[in-house]
Each structure stands twice: as C-alpha cells, then as structure tokens.
Symmetry: D2
Subunit: 334 residues, 4 copies
C-alpha cells in the first residue's frame, strides 16, 4: 500500500506496424521519398526549402493583369465542420455597436466618450477547422515526426519544434492550378476517386504549364463547390483526393506545397489499411506542406477564362507559435 521512490517510468509508445503487404508499400514509399536530413538535422520546414529568391522572383514575374483572387473560406460558424471531430470558428463579441448606441460606452477607461465608441471581439478558432496549412508537427508515424524528431516535443502547450510558425516567409511561391474536376468535365470528382500522378500531369499538360521545383500545386476536385452550404460529412467523410501512389511523383517534382479543396488532401477511404498514409509519406517524411479546405472555385473560373494556370501565390499561415496547423488569408495574384 505504501509507495516507494520509483525510477523514471518507461512509457510505451505506439506499436510499430506489422510487416504486412500494406505496410511494406508504405515503407517503400517512405524510403523512396524521405527528405530527413536533406536540409540538415535542424531543418523544420521541409520542402519549403525548395522556395528561394530565384523562385520568388520568378513567381512575382507572373503578375500581369494585377488581379487578386482569395482562396481562403471565411472563418465563421457556417464553416464546413459538423461539430463531431472539430467545431467551426466562433466569433465572440466583447464590445458592440448596439452597446455603444445604448450608452454603455459613454464612460470609457480613458474618460468620457465624447461621441467615440468601438467594437471588439475574440475568436475561438480550431486551427484546422477551415482553410489551413498543416504544420510538420501535425502528424506522427511510427514514433517520429518530420526529420526524425520525437513527438514528445509536442505537448499540451504546443510544439517546440516543427510548429507552423516556422517557414512563414517561404509562402511566396509560384502557384499552379491543377483543375482535375474541370479537365474531367464534372462539377466534382466523386468521393473515393483517387487522383493519380497521371491525372495530375495531364491537368498540368492541358493547362500548358510545366511543374517546377518550389511550386505550390492547387489541386481542385470540385468537392467544395459541390458541398458548400450543405456540408454534411464534407469534413471527415469520404472524399476525392490524391492517391497514396502520387508520392514518388510529388517527390520527383520537388514541389514545395500541395493544397486541395477537400478536408484531407488525400482520397478517403484510404487505399491501403493505414490511416492517411499519404500524410505519413508526404508530411512526415518528405516534409511537404499540405493545405486543406482551400476554396478554388473562383480561381477555377478565372483560370478557365484567361487560360493562365500559373501565378504568384502568397499564402503564409498565421504564425501561431507551436500550432499543429494554421489558418491563412491566401491570395492568388495574376
């Protein structure tokens, strides 16, 4: 009944996967595509390293019309979450115009108002509830996160390494829209449609763009357009998305980022008996920036109209220290 001093408790971590066929596939891709150590042991930004001054200059040179197209959904209670796994953002107003009109601000902390008034608010924002970039601390696989770091660096106070605030200055890129839905002539790909490397390449080819090192690929499935407003299981349910088997192609292309108009980038249900296996290859091992819930509808119309599928893309996540992901106010500039 009485306790005694104990040595450090050994805590067991997640069980290693058994070497079945599915796991072998996953391990093969990981071995083939890993960027661990490629930019040094201290690296925390992965493929964002592909973006340098040369890429920034080239991207800026793509601005011809001076037109700007946002790709972030508004953040509010009408967002795509159904409250099961995550909530939608909630704006909490702490000072209102109606209060001001009712005289509640006639006296301020700074003296009599003399006609002056203000509104103020606080947002409760699940970092991954709307348009967002995953950080490299968001996913773990077989006891590790990007660049071989231990998940114990991600505690109840956030991530001390690989957090989303790292690499903010790399989100000035050449963006390329791969409009897979439009190329297929459909409003939206069906849930379960696994987009292949061939489909991605065909979308680029038909758009007349070459994919280059440091690009951000914006892959449109049409699924957001099809579900907007009556979201149902948009966030978390079956969805079209990238096939696991695109990993080597993404790796070979040396893209900096991939974003889709779906909840989770990759196809759901997953193609093998692993949870979000493309995340384990691309995010954990390539260190690839994955963007989710991007609104590509207006951009799709715009590119179809002017035929220009490449552009300056400025889309830095909010620098939320240690966060697993972050919202952004992403802009395409053409």
């Amino acid at each position: 009944m009485s306790p005694t001093a104990k040595p450090r408790t050994a805590v067991s971590g997640p069980i290693a996967t058994k070497p079945d066929a599915d796991t072998r596939i996953l391990h093969d891709y990981i071995e083939q595509c890993s960027n661990w150590g490629r930019w040094g042991d201290d690296d925390e930004i992965g493929t964002l390293n592909f973006v340098g001054p040369e890429q920034v200059r080239a991207a800026a040179a793509l601005v011809r019309r001076g037109e700007v197209i946002p790709v972030s959904l508004p953040y509010d209670e009408r967002g795509c979450q159904d409250g099961g796994f995550r909530q939608n953002p909630q704006l909490m107003v702490t000072a209102s115009g109606t209060d001001y009109l009712a005289g509640a601000q006639d006296q301020t902390p700074w003296g009599p108002a003399r006609g002056f008034g203000y509104s103020d608010d606080v947002v409760i924002l699940p970092t991954q509830s709307g348009t967002q970039w995953d950080s490299l601390s968001h996913i773990f696989f077989e006891g590790q996160m990007y660049n071989g770091r231990s998940p114990d660096l991600v505690t109840a106070t956030g991530a001390t390494r690989n957090g989303v605030e790292k690499g903010v200055d790399r989100f000035v890129m050449r963006g390329v829209l791969l409009d897979v839905a439009r190329r297929h002539g459909v409003e939206s790909l069906e849930p379960g449609h696994a987009i292949t490397a061939e489909e991605l390449q065909a979308a680029a080819d038909s758009a007349g763009v070459e994919i280059r090192r440091g690009d951000a690929l914006l892959v449109r499935t049409g699924f957001m357009g099809a579900r907007r407003g009556r979201w149902e299981d948009y966030a978390g349910g079956p969805a079209p998305g990238l096939s696991l088997h695109t990993a080597p192609w993404l790796h070979a292309k040396e893209v900096a980022a991939v974003a889709t108009d779906t909840w989770g980038v990759e196809v759901r249900p997953n193609e093998i008996d692993h949870i979000q296996p493309l995340h384990s290859v691309a995010l954990v091992h390539m260190g690839l920036a994955l963007g989710e819930i991007f609104d590509l509808e207006r951009l799709s119309e715009h590119c179809a109209a002017d035929g220009a599928y490449e552009f300056l893309f400025v889309a830095a996540p909010l620098p939320l220290t240690g966060a697993s992901g972050a919202p952004l106010s992403g802009l395409v500039i053409k």
Copy 2:
C-alpha cells in the same frame, strides 16, 4: 405593478460632442477628409479602393531580390497584452505528441492507429491582441461608422457591414517604410511623440521614395523594438504615434493603409480632448485601413542595408466574418 404593452422603447445613443474648440478641430478634419459616399453608398472598404490592378502590377514589379520579410509578431502567450484590456492569444492543444507516445491514440475514430498519430489545437485569439488590421466596423463616432452606417449593424454576433472580411483582396499593395526612428537616429521615439506630416514626408524623402495613391505606409517608431519581451504598458499606455494633424496629409496622399509598430497608430496621450481622434477622422470618415502592432524591426534593418524602402506588400487579414479586426501573416517581398 402590472405591465402593459409598450411601444418600441426609445434608446438614447451617445451624446453628441459639445462645440468646444477641440471638437471644432475634429469636425474640421472630418469635413475636410471624409470619403463617405466617394465610392458609393454600398462601399465597405474605404481607401482600399485606391488599390486596383495598376497598383498591384506596379507593386509586383518592385520584386528584385526575391527576399521575403515577415512583419507579423508570432501569436502566443508572450505577446504584448498585459491582460488588462485584452488577453494574449492562447493555444489550447486538443491532441498531443506525448499522448500519442503514451498510447492514447492507439485506437482512433478511424480504426487502429498502426503507427499513425496526430496533434491538434484550438486558439483563443482576441482579434486585436497582436499584429492586426482594424476593420471599418471597429470605431464609431457621433452615432455612426464608416460610410454613415449605424453602429446597430454591429451586434453580439458581429458586424453585418464593414467587417474585416471585406476587401481582403486589396491587401496586395506597394508598401513604403517610413523609418521615422532611424531618421531621428534613435532606437525609439519617446511616448507622447506626435509624428507630424512633415516628419513622414521627410522620412519618405530621405528614403528616396515618392508616396503614391494606394500605398501602404509602414511607419516605424521603434517602440516595439524598445519594449519587446518586457512589454509593460506597451499595449494601452503612452506611446509615440501619428499626430491627429497628419489627417489632411494622409487624405491628400490617397494612401490605402497605414500601419505602425505601436498599439494604436496615433500618439498617446491624445493631442486634444477626444479619445483616439485620428481614428475618428481616418478610420470612421476616410475609411483608412489602420494596422497596429506590426513588427518592423527586421524590415528596418533590411531597408537600411539595401536602400530599398519600397516593396511589394502582401498582408491580407484573416477573413473572420464580421470581426472588428483580424490578425494577418504579413509579408514584405523585395
């Protein structure tokens, strides 16, 4: 004792200011600088209208080196708020790497983890606690907000008009750094230092830049550099900042936005017996985008080194529907 049906209750709004000398000054500037109606009765974005395709193209053409400099402070509990008027952002972790290692994620909603794990989080973010743009619904004066709208459009659920989500696509601008502190040869201007139009012009002149329609002026007082880390009353106390009397100059220059490295853009204490009078002129009546708590330290070093004080500035606020202001991940691209 017993109630009876009553007509609509008349609620009295804020008392109009008395016509004393200070109020006359304020009214004169308002009359002189107002943009109400200039872009139509439906306008909700004010001076952001000065930014059009021509300005975007010209700004993009300023990119020469391909270098990127962030101007947003990280959002976290070490921010500049002292908890009196506003709190700092708080990251609340809802799934951690330590949980994963301890086996708490071995079973997921999607089945056995098989090595997979994740982190997740929610941020409680006072919209004006860090680097942020004010919306045109943030300030009221004499019973009205920008473009003559009633403050009763800003309720406990947010602003239905003039919210910060409007005009997000205009935040691609030519930015100009006006490094007033450096020009004065000081680490920081003193609290109470009211920066004049002449000082702003002199900073532009000595930097060799002409201020143009649609520019964003980034005015550096040095105050953030001086207070960073031991913030004390940085947020809310005496501070250097723009003089009320810069209003006509700002109006004449037709700038789209002004941002500073202080809490409230304008000098504190205020120069006349009105609360934040430059806000009442510039935000309420000009519809000028005001940016606060911008981190201009690294930019200051950069511009001093390369001599280039004009640049592409991409700094769209997070589209928080109906919010009084919003954080941003602002980037200078040179």
Copy 3:
C-alpha cells in the same frame, strides 16, 4: 458627404405585439401573475424571495436517510447540444499527465520538479448548454426584463442587473419531485405534450406531498431518459413541457423555482403564436427561477423506491457575474 454632429441617435426597440387573441391571453397572464415591485424596486431575485430561514430549516429537516442524489448532467462534449444553437462544453487541457511522463515538466516555474507534476485545464462552457438555471436577465418581453428593468443593462460584457450571481444563497430549498411521466406510466411524455396544472397537482397528490411556498418543483417528463446518448434535436426541437396555462397555478403556489428534464421547461411547439410564452410570464414577470436539462432519472428511481418525493434540494448556480444562466452541481439530499 460630410458629417455633422448629431444628437443622440434614437434607436427603436422591439415592436410591441399587436392586440390579437394570443397576445391578449399572454397579457392577461402577465397582469394576473406579475411580481414586479412585490419585493421592492431593487429586487433582482424574484420568487427566490419565497425562500427564507423558515423554508431552509424545514427543508433540512427532511434529511432522514443521509442519501445524496446528483441532478446535474456531466459537462462535456457528449452533452445534449447538436451545435446548431449552442455548443457542448469543451475541456481544453493545458498540462497533461502524458506531458509529465515525457519529461516536459521536469523543469517548472518553481524550479526542478523532483518528481512533482500536475495537470491543468480550461473549460469553454456555453452557460446554457447543460443543466442550468436561467437568470432573470435571460429573457426580455416587450422591451423589459424582470422588475421593469431595461434590457440595455445587458451588454456585450454581461448583465449589470438581474444576473445569475444574485440570489445564489437562496438555492437551499425544499424540493418536490413531480414525476409526471411515471404517473402516466410511460418512459417519456411525447413531444408536444403540454403538462397542465391539473397534471402537476395530480402528481403531487399521488406522491402525497403538499406544495408549499418556496418549494422547487422538479418536473419529470422522462424526455431526457428517452433521448440520452442519441440526443438528436433534444436541445431545441419539439418537447413535452409545462403548458402556458400553468402560470396562474405556479403563481398561486408561490413556488421559488421550477426545473425540468427538458431543454426549455415549457412545451414545444408553443401553444400560442408567441415564442416561449411561459418564459415571458413566469421568468420575466413572476421572476420565477427556471431550471433546464436537469437529470431526474436517478431521482425518479429513488423516490419510487422509498416513496419520499420531498427532500432538501441544494442547487446553487455557479456565480458567473452577469451571466444569462449558469451551470450547477445540484444535489438532492434525502
């Protein structure tokens, strides 16, 4: 285009109801039942005034077995809200045991841990998401709240009058279970079942209890038991509940509080063309404490077993200054 100083803006309040038949019914009950002024113009606690030392002593004297039965649902994400109108409570952990085991607490703000560790958390709690008492600032009718006060006393910072923190010390009462569902021999009354004064009286009679001044009536419909765990539209949809026409009976009985196992005390859909009309009579005009989402299942079993339907009831709301309602850890003591 240029503004001028304006007088206080006249803001129109809610339109008075038209004198149709339904409104006349409502006004009749209001006139008949109003307690405005009964306990003075300063009163903020309404029928809680019926509870005094005599009632407390009498209630305490009911304790015979020394048994304690909680009546509050746990507050967590599995609560009855479906996220439409309100969210469920969310516990946000800020320090965890897994962090401690991983060594993240080895250094504390107070020095080396030397074996010590801790957990900590923050709850985001919609005040009316679970078991709760309405405050007398929660409902307005025809431009007024309880005791003739103006709703402008309830701003974005809370209620300066009639808040839920008033009267906390009165929540030591004689409680009486009126088990309407059990008396009807059903698991649950049907949605839309309007419980009459006769049914309430019959439940009391069959339980052998006399209703007395200052009592808390716990009215069981069985609806929580029927819906628990698969809540669907429990919070906000059709429900059994008290008829509007019970108002005069509740008034005559001089009860201090009425709580039910439903979302909104009164029957839904409402019986007349007014929203929650019993609230307008009972809460706004009688100042009656209304309790919602009480868990009466275990209590029902207990009372059926021992035949004792009267007991000491201690159920003070959390003193959340200025709140519209508050959760509680309510206990029946028999």
Copy 4:
C-alpha cells in the same frame, strides 16, 4: 536518412527524487499517510469515502437558524489571477439586451419575435482560476497519481480516472471553520506563515468543536480578505498556509476535505526542497480533497457572531468530466 519501422518508443518519465534529507521527510509522510488501496483498487475519490449517510444526517442536523452563507468568489475578470500562470474567467456574451433593443432579434430562428428577446453567453473558465476543488488527477508524484494510477490516464482530452466529476455526491458534509487568523487576532497571517497541527487544533478547541471523521475543514488565514481587489501575487506568490507537517494530523483526523482562503492550501514558500510537498502527501497519497481560493470572510463574521463553528456544508464541484479541478457554488447552511 531513410527511416525504418521502430518498436514502441521508450519514453522516460520524471526522474525519481534523490534520497536526500528533504526527500526522506516526504517519503516518511507518504508511507505514514497513504490511503492507496484502503478503499479498493478501483477507488477514485479518496477521503471522500469518509462521508457516508451517517455523516450526511449529522451534518443536516446542524441546521438551526436556516441561514445560508456562500463561500465561492464570483467568477469574472476581476478575479485573483494576474494572467501569468492562469487567466481569470471571461464571460463572452453571444446575445445581448442592447441587440434586442436595437431590433437585432426582431427575427428569430423560431419566427418573428413579437416582443420576445433573450441574452446568452459562453464562459471561458480556467478550472482552477477561482474557488475550486482539486481533483485526484491534478497532482502527480514520482510517476504516479492517487491510488497508484499512471499519469498517462490524463491526456490532452482530460482524465479518464480520478477526474473531478467523481465523488460529486460526497460534498454534503459537516463543515468546521478553523479561523486561525481570528484566533491570532490578526487581519491576515503573513505570507510564509506555516500553520501547524497545534494551531489547527487550538482553533478547533477555542471554537468548541471536535473534529470528526468526514469533516470538511475550512481553514481561514485572512489572506483573501487582505488582498481582495488588489490581488497582486495572491495567486502564485508567497502565502500563509498549512505546514507540510500537518499531514499526519490530517490523516489521523480522517477529514474528508480541507479548504483554505489561499491559492494553494499549503504555505509558500515551501518548507522543504520539494514543490508543494503537502499536495504530494495529502492529494496524491491520502486522496484528500483540497479546496482553494475559498471566500471565508463572511463566514468568519457569522461564526464569530453566533459562536457556531460547525455547520452543514454543501459544496459539490461542477461535474466537468475529466477535469483537473472544478469551480463550485459552495454554501454553508447553519
């Protein structure tokens, strides 16, 4: 560079304390006072087991005058936290009376308002920011929590064992006020004053009360009264409080709970080179319910006036599932 499947990662827990003199003291008290296993391996409520029907009946029999004295501080932004370690509660209003008056509620989700309106709110409540009970999952020592459980049961989603929602029905007790400050004739004991078992006993003796199994001891230092309103470092700084050396006395008395008017029950700075050592003995090993930030000022006046230092004490924490602690609306009933 390429990863391979790894076995479960061994995560090291907190270092065991070295066997120095201070640690030996702590281990001696732990060995002497531990209740692990006393109520079975499944027990999650510790000394609350001392409260049973007999204690409840005896406590209820103490009600003589019918007077009720609250012991919880209001929960609001004027609370005792200085924002360093924890924040104060924040009420976020989501529907206001000023909105209603301005007509913003004229249309409701349930149709035209016809005079009806409402307020609503959400509280962001750090569970340990105000008056609160610690749960038995709040403190860990040498790799364990109460009853020998592993801290890995406390994850980023809360505690699956030892959470504060367990044992809610035991918080109906005999309470005893030990007014140490009044007995010493001082407004407040000084920070650093370590209250001894002798002082506790003397306070009981001079009050003419015998301490019994299952009692809740309310120990008044006067520190809250001295600091109220200008809290400074009340929450976290030096404070009077119980000496570590009271542990055997508390154990022998078989009390169910101890609450003080200070931040942390025990004296600060700590008496030995361990962090909150009384917590490690009393909470972790005895399973003693510790209550903090109780407002005992009015109770002190009341007891001094009527000479009755024993009473019915009903003080159940809010059943926040899995929380490390919880607020309460505690009542003394005399």
